[in-house]
């Protein structure tokens, strides 16, 4: 597998950047993900970080060196992040759960799968055409999708999401794939800080016009300029699949030479926030028991 990737995240006019992004890969599989921690709820940056960590950790555990079932992986990896957020809120006695959107894409073989929850988007651009884009889990996009058949009434705030990770109900996860990829295809994941101010036509045109190393920063700058002082966090991660080898503007990644055990990641798989709760007293006792069992087994082998 060969791809080039470009990622960038800007705080914009906000006090904090609650967006997170990252990717990881083995020889035969790649995961690209982005999450946008939600304002109005506590610790948005914890939520987005945690959801990516869960995905990355699960990817590392399952991609040997391919995922058996990318669709199932995406669904379970995203749900695991959701459950982690609920646990986190309980254990930290938070009155409200940290919440986040998430969008993730798996590239494997010649195919792509993706999944999302909330309003972080994925765009797939082939040549100069927009082949696919995720539909936000917001009332306005829902209405567009339903083509006005089901009237929602005027009282609904159209920008409100009806699902995300960390909310009391089970999150809605849209799964897509497998989608056949063609060399040069571009997949872009972004937070609403980008698509909220730059329309789909512009995004498609820019992505098609220049190498990712130029088009992605250009799009992000455009979003920041347009939104001005009040700009939301703007985050983009974009991948060009089977990028032409002579393209020297970007560090392409060639995975074919990687060994079976190699796992690369830009997402830190564990952090104190995560481990702290994994290691309660029961866990400590269990670890000690396991180690002593291993010692006994090894001693027996030694005879």
């Amino acid at each position: 597998m060969r791809f080039s990737v470009y990622q960038i995240s800007r705080r914009g006019g906000r006090e904090k950047n609650e967006d997170r992004m990252g990717y990881c890969y083995t020889r035969d599989s790649g995961l690209f993900a982005l999450a946008d921690g939600m304002g109005g709820h506590p610790e948005g940056e914890v939520a987005s970080q945690m959801s990516l960590q869960m995905l990355a950790a699960q990817f590392q555990a399952e991609a040997r060196t391919q995922l058996k079932d990318p669709k199932r992986f995406l669904n379970e990896g995203i749900l695991a992040g959701h459950h982690q957020l609920l646990r986190y809120a309980v254990e930290h006695a938070l009155l409200d759960t940290p919440r986040t959107t998430v969008v993730a894409c798996v590239l494997q073989g010649r195919e792509a799968w993706w999944a999302h929850c909330g309003d972080s988007r994925l765009y797939l651009v082939r040549g100069n055409r927009l082949i696919a884009r995720t539909r936000d889990h917001s009332y306005s996009e829902l209405q567009e999708t339903l083509n006005g058949i089901v009237p929602l009434g005027d009282k609904v705030n159209r920008n409100v999401l009806f699902t995300c990770l960390g909310s009391p109900g089970k999150p809605v996860i849209d799964l897509v794939g497998p989608v056949q990829m063609q060399p040069g295809d571009r997949v872009m994941l972004c937070s609403d800080g980008l698509w909220g101010v730059v329309d789909d036509e512009t995004i498609t045109r820019e992505l098609a016009a220049a190498p990712l190393g130029e088009s992605v920063p250009e799009l992000v700058e455009l979003a920041l300029r347009t939104a001005g002082d009040k700009s939301d966090n703007v985050t983009v991660i974009a991948v060009e699949w089977e990028a032409a080898e002579d393209e020297d503007t970007l560090a392409g990644i060639e995975t074919a030479a990687l060994g079976d055990d190699v796992f690369e990641s830009t997402i830190q798989a564990s952090g104190p926030g995560l481990d702290e709760e994994l290691l309660d007293d029961d866990e400590i006792e269990r670890s000690i028991r396991e180690i002593n069992e291993a010692i006994r087994r090894t001693a027996q082998k030694r005879g």
Partner: protein, 323 residues
């Protein structure tokens, strides 16, 4: 600002988990190692999880105190301590220190290991170096020593574990002449936490360049760099320059050329191979290195040419060299 106090070790005579402490052997960032004896008066090494930057303990007290803001890191370190125990428990090899027991007491955890009598390779190097002969160790000694160490390291890697702090001070030579690797400090990884990133701590000179980078991909080749640096130290008597220095200006080839005609070309080349700055240019597995190191062909020695000698002398004058 007062200097942070290191947590006090348990005093001799204290009994923990049925082991009676005789004395403190060593203290590091991760905790304290004691010499102790079990109920049948056999000697053991007892390692106490007590990260000096996170835990406090007043002299005479048993239970360490951890401030609430340091709890998450303390627990994370504990997890690594378990990882170390878990991995070591699965390994049974004469070149890898063995774990005998693992228990919880005083609100922390303890790992019981074989007590080894002897000295570290570091002690041997310093002693040999001070004799000021042209060779620090004989080549045959170096080859057989590292053959033994690599056998152990191979098993370690087979268990999907990296040592990440191989250095002469962590290689123990027992009184009955066996080389044993100590201090599988997975537990140290957390203690150099910086921002959101957790990196293993490293020892300059023995740490591969990728250990200094956040995104550095660590693998068997990282331990192999350290092995190369240890061989270097066994020949030269001193550790090599650290990786950042080498990236700035690499004098490795030059300092190894001082050893030409003292050690065989092959041993010098193997050292240079292991210590390639590019991880991919090193032997990718311990097995590949073992094969090269055990290749018993006739040893070739190449003298320095006149111009090379001249270059070395100039270099010595410039750097006021110790060699």
């Amino acid at each position: 600002m007062s200097k942070p106090q290191k947590p006090a070790p348990l005093p001799p005579g204290t009994v923990v988990g049925g082991y009676q402490i005789i004395r403190k052997l060593a203290a590091g960032g991760f905790g304290v190692v004691y010499l102790a004896e079990d109920s049948e008066r056999r000697l053991v090494a007892l390692k106490e999880y007590l990260p000096s930057s996170l835990a406090e303990r007043a002299p005479g007290e048993l239970i360490p105190r951890v401030k609430p803001d340091k709890q998450p890191l303390y627990r994370l370190g504990l997890k690594s301590f378990f990882e170390e125990g878990r991995s070591l428990a699965q390994i049974s090899h004469p070149s890898v220190v063995s774990v005998l027991n693992f228990f919880r007491e005083n609100e922390t955890v303890y790992m019981v290991m074989n007590y080894l009598q002897g000295d570290t390779l570091q002690d041997f190097i310093v002693t040999a170096r001070d004799l000021k002969r042209d060779k620090v160790f004989r080549e045959s000694t170096i080859r057989s020593l590292f053959d033994e160490i690599l056998r152990g390291l191979r098993i370690v890697h087979q268990h999907k574990m990296l040592h990440l702090d191989i250095k002469p001070a962590n290689i123990f030579i027992t009184n009955d002449n066996k080389a044993v690797m100590l201090d599988f400090g997975a537990a140290r990884e957390v203690l150099s936490k910086e921002g959101n990133f957790i990196r293993p701590m490293y020892t300059p000179g023995f740490a591969a360049p990728e250990m200094y980078r956040r995104d550095g991909s660590l693998g068997p080749w990282t331990d192999i760099y350290a092995i190369g640096a240890c061989i270097y130290a066994c020949m030269q008597g001193y550790p090599p320059n650290d990786a950042p220095q080498r990236i700035e200006k690499d004098r490795l080839g030059l300092s190894l050329s001082r050893l030409r005609n003292v050690y065989s070309d092959n041993l010098i080349e193997v050292t240079e191979w292991c210590m390639s700055l590019d991880p991919l240019a090193r032997p990718q597995s311990v097995f590949a290195l073992q094969k090269e190191l055990s290749r018993e062909t006739e040893r070739r020695y190449t003298k320095l040419s006149f111009s090379e000698r001249l270059k070395l002398q100039l270099e010595n004058i410039k750097s006021g060299a110790k060699a």
